[in-house]
Structure formats: structure tokens, C-alpha cells
């Protein structure tokens, strides 16, 4: 630290602005170019991004505001987002709101407003709208991840959760199941409600009555999944299959399954939304819906960077990626 563009200019015996121009890729007489390069090397100079940011009002930072840092799939998204953004010259500021705590969200938003970042990725289910509003006021581009707003023009990248859920539940029905329980998440989460919607549509399309007692809320948490299995297992008429709508709950559910000694799939067929290590670590291996997390992250970054660069040609962009269905052996095929 301490060595500035001024020092480089003096050392290279050119004007400050010439150095600046060189630094920003402008054309400079080759003689001067060499001198500047030599000076930079000699002094071990690196430009001060803060000062640069003050002038250009660009920080080369992107904020990721999330409300689900505890969800294992976030780690994958985070790493991929960080990698992609870095490639484009941005660093990632990680802002985790822990269950969408309102005060924290507000603080984060203020932070962002204080020239904190050039762009924002939001996936804090629930408070995304606040963030969106404020960011818009500040003129900072936002891309919504895992949700999709239709009432206000916004770039959104999401996974077709309803479709994925439909495929999963339909598979269950085709396998001969009718008593199908669903372990759901909070209704305020779009991802949760979409998955639930997929379930409902199958029931509707196949004219299977929806039974209230088979609908249990696991709050997208580990404990919730655990409790839900306990609950449905106490029912007078147990379901023959269960659709678990996220990974955290799936883990909890599998613990309960172990504890109760439920045989899968003989006594209970299991199908899960999200597919991670767990799916192949339990016996039988779990049939599951896998989200295209890498593509999701990549698409989000691509759009955001374009917006930051002022390219709004395809605004608002709505991307809806398709999940994959992975058939393994946790579902009993009843008519075989």
C-alpha cells in the first residue's frame, strides 16, 4: 500500500492521466507503455479500487442476499456464483439474513444502498420485494434467484419446481400409489408453494382426492421433516408414499424413518425434491428430483453482469430451468 498512480507516473516520467489511460486499456505510445509497465513492476503498484470506485461509482462487488444459508444447496450455488462473478471481475459479498429476519434485511438493504455493490442477487424468500424496491431506488440491478415476480418487471431465474414436483408425484401415481403424503415448506416461500402446487395438480389431473391429514408442514427444516414422518406414521390409515419437498426435511425424515424402523419402499415409498449426497447414502437409494444448480447460478450471474454493464436489451428476463428426475429404488412399483 501507499504506492499510488502518482508514484507510477513520476517513475515512468509521464502524466498521471497517461497511466490511468494505460490502466484502463486505452492506447498509449509503446515507449510510454513500456515505461509504465516497468514502473508498475518496480513499485509493485496495484490500483486502489476504492478510489476508482468513488470516481466511477462502480465497486466491482456483487451482493448475495439470502435467507437460507443453512440449506445445503446454498453452498453449491454460492461457490458457483462466486466463481462466475470473479471471472467477470466481481467479488462476492455474502449477506445471510437467517430466516429472513426483517431487521437484518433492512440493514442489508441500507448497506447495499450505500454504494456497497454494483448488483444484487436475491434469494431471501419473503423479503425479496423490500430489497427489490430499495435497490431500484438506488438504481442497482437485481436478479431474483429461485423466485419469479410477475407484477413488477424483474429479472428472475428459477427452477420449474411445480413441474419437477409434478413429475415426481405423477411417478408415484403411475407406480400405483394413491395415498400420497406431502411434507411441505412454509407457504410464504415460493419454492415451497410451487412444489406443493405440483403435487396438487397431479391429484387433480388423476382425480385423486386430497386428504388433509396427508399434508404436513415441515417448515423446510431438518426437525420439521423428522416430525412430519412421525406424524403421518401415527395416522389410522397410513400413506403408502411420501413426497418430501426439500433436502433439509428429507434428512430429518430419513432419521425418523430409521428410528421408526420403517421399511422403504415396502412400507413407505419415498421421493424427494433435491438430490444430494444423502440420496445415495441411505438404503435403498432415493428417487429424487435434482435441481440444475450450476446452470441456475450461471444464468443468474450472466444476466446480472449484463445489467451492470447497462445492457437491458432483454429486460425483464424470465428463465425457468427444468429439473431432472432421478429414478432410484425408494419407490415401490405396486403393479409389478
Amino acid at each position: 500500500m501507499g504506492v499510488t498512480i502518482k508514484d507510477v507516473a513520476k517513475e515512468a516520467d509521464v502524466a498521471i492521466s497517461t497511466v490511468s489511460k494505460y490502466l484502463n486499456g486505452g492506447s498509449v505510445r509503446s515507449e510510454n507503455k513500456k515505461a509504465i509497465e516497468a514502473a508498475i513492476r518496480k513499485l509493485n503498484y496495484s490500483p486502489n479500487n476504492v478510489a476508482r470506485g468513488l470516481r466511477t461509482s462502480r465497486t466491482y462487488r456483487v451482493g448475495l442476499v439470502t435467507g437460507s444459508g443453512d440449506n445445503p444447496h446454498m453452498a453449491t450455488l454460492l461457490d458457483e456464483i462466486e466463481r462466475q462473478l470473479w471471472k467477470d471481475g466481481y467479488s462476492l459479498t455474502y449477506l445471510n439474513t437467517e430466516c429472513c429476519d426483517e431487521n437484518t434485511v433492512r440493514e442489508y438493504i441500507d448497506f447495499v444502498a450505500e454504494t456497497g455493490v454494483d448488483g444484487i442477487i436475491v434469494t431471501a424468500s419473503g423479503n425479496s420485494r423490500d430489497c427489490l424496491q430499495r435497490a431500484r431506488e438506488c438504481g442497482i440491478p437485481v436478479v431474483i434467484m429461485e423466485e419469479c415476480y410477475t407484477d413488477v418487471p424483474t429479472d428472475c431465474v428459477q427452477v420449474d419446481c411445480a413441474g419437477g414436483a409434478y413429475q415426481a408425484v405423477e411417478y408415484l401415481v403411475n407406480a400405483g400409489h394413491h395415498r400420497i403424503a406431502a411434507i411441505c415448506g412454509p407457504e410464504s416461500y415460493v419454492t415451497a408453494s410451487e412444489r406443493y402446487r405440483g403435487y396438487l395438480r397431479v391429484m387433480e389431473d388423476y382425480e385423486i382426492p386430497v386428504r388433509e391429514e396427508y399434508l404436513v408442514n415441515g417448515r423446510f427444516k431438518y426437525d420439521g421433516g423428522y416430525e412430519c414422518i412421525k406424524k403421518i406414521w401415527e395416522l389410522p390409515e397410513r400413506p403408502t408414499a411420501v413426497f418430501i419437498t426439500n433436502y433439509l426435511m428429507c434428512m430429518g425424515a430419513m432419521e425418523a424413518v430409521c428410528e421408526l424402523g420403517i421399511r422403504v419402499p415396502e412400507e413407505l415409498s419415498v421421493i424427494a425434491f433435491d438430490d444430494f449426497a444423502l440420496s445415495v447414502m441411505v438404503r435403498p437409494k432415493l428417487t429424487a428430483v435434482r435441481q440444475p444448480l450450476i446452470e441456475l447460478a450461471d444464468e443468474v450471474c450472466r444476466i446480472l453482469v449484463r445489467r451492470i454493464n447497462g445492457d437491458y436489451s432483454d429486460f425483464p428476463r424470465k428463465v425457468r430451468l427444468k429439473p431432472a428426475f432421478i429414478e432410484r429404488s425408494s419407490v415401490l412399483l405396486m403393479h409389478e
Copy 2:
């Protein structure tokens, strides 16, 4: 955006410097104070941190440089670090080097040098020294997490891995096991070598010969754990117990255990370093060593913030937290 301290000053009819003083907690005549507060509210002003940073050369950002974003325990550390730092007014820049890729580390370091952050937390096993060196040149405080350097004065917070490993392996020995395999990580990782060292010490203290074929390297990766189990199960004289030195490998190992139909603990006792959801999801539940991740993160943040504030009174600080031993039922007690 757009509204600056100048606007506030004009609105409140005071000098810019008075507003600045107020903003930074200096004493201001109560009359002016009110006017300023009103102006701020009216204009919805929030200070520009970049400009502030340029003057004070503080960015209120901390960088977390890690080489193990894929390790599940990182998620816990990350979230806790973010929370703690935010409480102290810092935002977290997440820099994941993916397996300590050298070029990326270099870029990260340059970034940090360019007034990117006020402080750095490093846990990029392998390249920490580079980072340390460069940061020192820039005068940016660094706290090393999960490692400990003794040759150069540095703040380090780590878990006593050797101790934890010792306890685990000793438990195995006391349970009557002598043929104990160890699934290890890369020697270049301090965490890996420490855990291995704990194993060796038990063997030494109890005068059990170390058998080369029981020492397998799983590279701290999922696949590695899987392969290692396969390998030791092909041995003419199989071990009766295995000590798995991290979570990722433990997951892979458990998949192999399932696949080979190995009965735990009857045929093979299992003890793991790191204790997460998996431990209670498999049957039998896994006996494990649990790292105090929250304390680890808290301690790191506490030290770093003190250093940033110029308090070097206890430098260099070396903290060595003790892991907990969680007894469950994956170890066969042979003399019962």
C-alpha cells in the same frame, strides 16, 4: 443514491463538516443535531461508504479466503462469521479458491491488496502463507483459521485435532480394537496431518504396531472415503475398526459400507471426525468427534476485529479449542 452529505448540510443549514462530525458521533449543538437528523430523514440520506473508505482507508469489509468451500462444515463457519462480523459493522467478502488453486489465490491476494478489505480470515490450507505474506506487506491484519503457524508470529485459531483424534482412537483401543484403519486426508493440510498424528500417538502410547495397509488416503473428498472402504475391505486381514478423518470422506465411506453390506459395528466399528446430520441418520448412529465450529468462528472474528481496531496487545494470539467426543453406537465394545 445521489443525495450526499452536501445536500444534508444545505438542508440543515450547517457546514458539511458539522454533518460529518455528527455522523461520526462527535458532539454537536443540540439545535444543529435536530436539524441534521431531520434533513437526513427528509432526504433519506445514507453515507457513501466508498468515499468514506477513501479518506479513512477503511472499507469495513473482511475477506474470507478459503480452499474448502465444498466441505459442509464451511457453511456453518461462513454463516457464523458473517453474522458476527455484521454485528461489528463489517461485511463479508467470500473468496473461495477451490482446492487452493494457485492462480486464484494470487488474484485474491492482489484483490485484497487493492484496498479490498480491512482484514482477512484465511483457511485456504496450503496457500495461507502466500496470503499472509502479501497481507503483511499491505498492513492488513490476518487471522488464520484451522491452522497454526509457529515460525512466523500470527493470530491463529484452531481446533485441537490431534487431541480429538487421540480421544477417538483411544476409545477404539479401550473398546478392544487393535486392527484400526485410518482414512486420512492430504498431508499438506494441517487438519489432516494433525488428525493422523493423533492416531499415531495412540498407537505409540499403547504399543500397537502401525500397519501400512491400514493407512489409506481419501484426499478429504467424498470419493476418497468411498474408495478407502473398498480398499480396506479387500485386505486379507481386515481391520475391525476404522477412523475416518473428515465429514466428506465419512459420507463416501458410509455409501461404500452400505454397498458392501458391511454390518456396523459387528463387522466394522466406525468412528468419525466431524459430526453432522449424517451421524444420526445412519444406523447405527455414528460415534464422532465434534468440532466447536461456532466458537471457532466467534473467536476468529473477535481477534480480527481487535486487530483492525489497532489493538495488538495480545499479539500473536494462539487459540486451540477442544473438540467434543460424542459416543453413540457405531463402535463394538469387544470385552462386553
